[in-house]
Symmetry: C2
Subunit: 340 residues, 2 copies
């Protein structure tokens, strides 16, 4: 590579000052149009590459936004990311993506890296057990934080997620209305607000229908396709013989249905299964999955908007914004059959 071309190279070859070049390249109205055109033309001809580090050091804005979630390979987060990406795409921000896999340490590392890079803001789905101090560290150093999908007790940052308790009650009520009485809940964990809310929504719906809540009918843990698949054995061997399962999410539901099918039963006929999220693949599962839309696209879009607004100076009210989930009835649920 040849000699590095910088602002001053352009300035010298054109006999103007670096100040003029700097202004011209950023389309400042202070520079005469003819000068600007000459400068831009020269920049192109020389193959000039703008040095964002230098600019950022001077202005203390980096144009970088950090996004960290549990796992970008999980389509639930993937759909949120896609919405964030398309919202940020129109702006001039570059975004840095990362997984924390629920490691508080990885998350802290990420926040620190963003701080070191002078990141302008962070959108995050906090790791299980995130200490509020870690998030405050960002805010205290002038880097705003927006929460998605999960919230943390004792933290009042702006947050966007679905109304889990309400959403899971939609699924549970749907099964109850089909005549099911022995309904298991498969997957999830009490360690997240989401996990607690969904279990609570399930419990509430059963109680309201005067159905006894049996702790054994809860199979906690699974959160992936693989987890749901493996839980099928446990599910099918429950002595109470559940006729339906409210699953933690679509992935668990799809895995569970595969496991049920392997055992020779027909999901949607012998056993009713509901998912949660309404991922793109829910509708093409076999059978097509009855599930609850969890507003991923809205969560991502609103979070990105909120951050952009905040960076533009406006200060929206903090606190939680709940997206209202919606029921999507398909073929994985059906009326209660006579005892199996």
């Amino acid at each position: 590579m040849a000699q590095k071309v910088k602002l001053s190279t352009i300035a010298e070859t054109l006999g103007v000052s670096t100040a003029t070049v700097s202004l011209a390249l950023r389309d400042s109205p202070l520079v005469a149009v003819s000068t600007r055109d000459r400068i831009k033309e020269q920049a192109r001809a020389l193959g000039y590459i703008y040095n964002r580090r230098a600019a950022s050091l001077r202005t203390s804005r980096s144009g970088i936004i950090g996004v960290i979630v549990h796992d970008i390979m999980n389509p639930f987060y993937g759909e949120i990311l896609k919405a964030i990406e398309s919202e940020l795409d129109r702006s001039q921000y570059t975004f840095i993506l990362s997984n924390h896999y629920d490691s508080v340490e990885k998350q802290r590392n990420f926040i620190e890296t963003m701080l070191q890079l002078g990141g302008d803001g962070i959108i995050m789905s906090p790791a299980i057990g995130s200490p509020p101090e870690d998030l405050e560290l960002a805010e205290e150093n002038g880097m705003p934080v927006i929460l998605v999908a999960r919230t943390i007790d004792g933290v009042t940052l702006p947050g966007f997620r679905g109304d889990d308790s309400y959403g899971i009650s939609l699924a549970t009520n749907h099964l109850i209305s089909l005549g099911h009485k022995v309904i298991a809940m498969v997957g999830g964990t009490d360690q997240t607000s989401t996990g607690r809310d969904r279990y609570q929504g399930y419990v509430n719906a059963l109680r309201k229908a005067d159905i006894e809540v049996l702790p054994d009918l809860r199979i906690p843990g699974p959160r992936t396709r693989q987890g749901g698949f493996e839980a099928a054995v446990h599910f099918l061997s429950l002595p109470q013989k559940p006729t339906a399962a409210v699953c933690w999410n679509d992935l668990v539901a799809i895995g569970l249905m595969n496991g049920i099918a392997r055992a020779g039963l027909v999901p949607g006929v012998d056993i009713s299964v509901t998912g949660y999220d309404d991922l793109e693949e829910a509708s093409i599962a076999t059978p097509a999955l009855t599930t609850v839309w969890n507003g991923q696209s809205e969560v991502g879009r609103l979070a990105a908007r909120a951050l952009l607004d905040r960076l533009a100076g406006s200060h929206d009210p903090d606190g939680l914004h709940l997206i209202k989930p919606e029921m999507r009835i398909r073929q994985s649920t059906g009326p209660l059959k006579p005892r199996r």
Copy 2:
């Protein structure tokens, strides 16, 4: 936020020079241990945040590695990314992830952004139709590029991917050995090297077995679960009545199996289906998918290593490194049945 703490703040409060602080924080042996400890302690106490932009401006190394692929939500790329991530995790690099969705423009933007940020290197799966100049732009500016999953004609950068032609012939031969003679190929595109290689591998395997190659048996296009699902209608209405399908990848195969099941046929019994990639979900599909392992984890690991080596100064030979695919026989393929 209080007054910004910088190197000089630490230096002043301790009565030493910034040079000493800088060296101490980076564990230079030039600094006395006692001095170093005092400095580190003070940095912690003051809540010092290292300014990477300033350092990077000075050293012209940023510690940033860019990774761009077609779509991180596609599990095939997800698995590659995971391998890259775990390899890079041990190093001190931050990585910036992005999708190009096969838009050459998005890809060029990404390369330019990396250049502006002073990125140390890029790992990429190039967009369809990538002009060699775009990749050369990076190299010319001192930013090394490593290719994964796809390569580009006329570009001699180091590249890592599976041996597609060989791999697809494994799948095709497996079906032939089960007695199938009317074998369709579902998905993929001629616009990528991968697409051309896989089709060629399929054609070669058929020819070698003296089976006529019928162009109508190729259903190009699908690359996703949704695409495979939708292709089922076309597949099932082919006048030649294929008894087996060699699919572009696992996602297409899973989608196709779902579509076949919807039509009342049993994949693995009525119609044999092979996938490609051996994603994590291949083994839990129903039926478990017969497929070809495409070495995602190896591709990611080796690419990351190659870049790290290059950044450390060693200059590995350029050119293509092919990973040898392996057959994974499961339940989605079976012996030819009497005519359906």
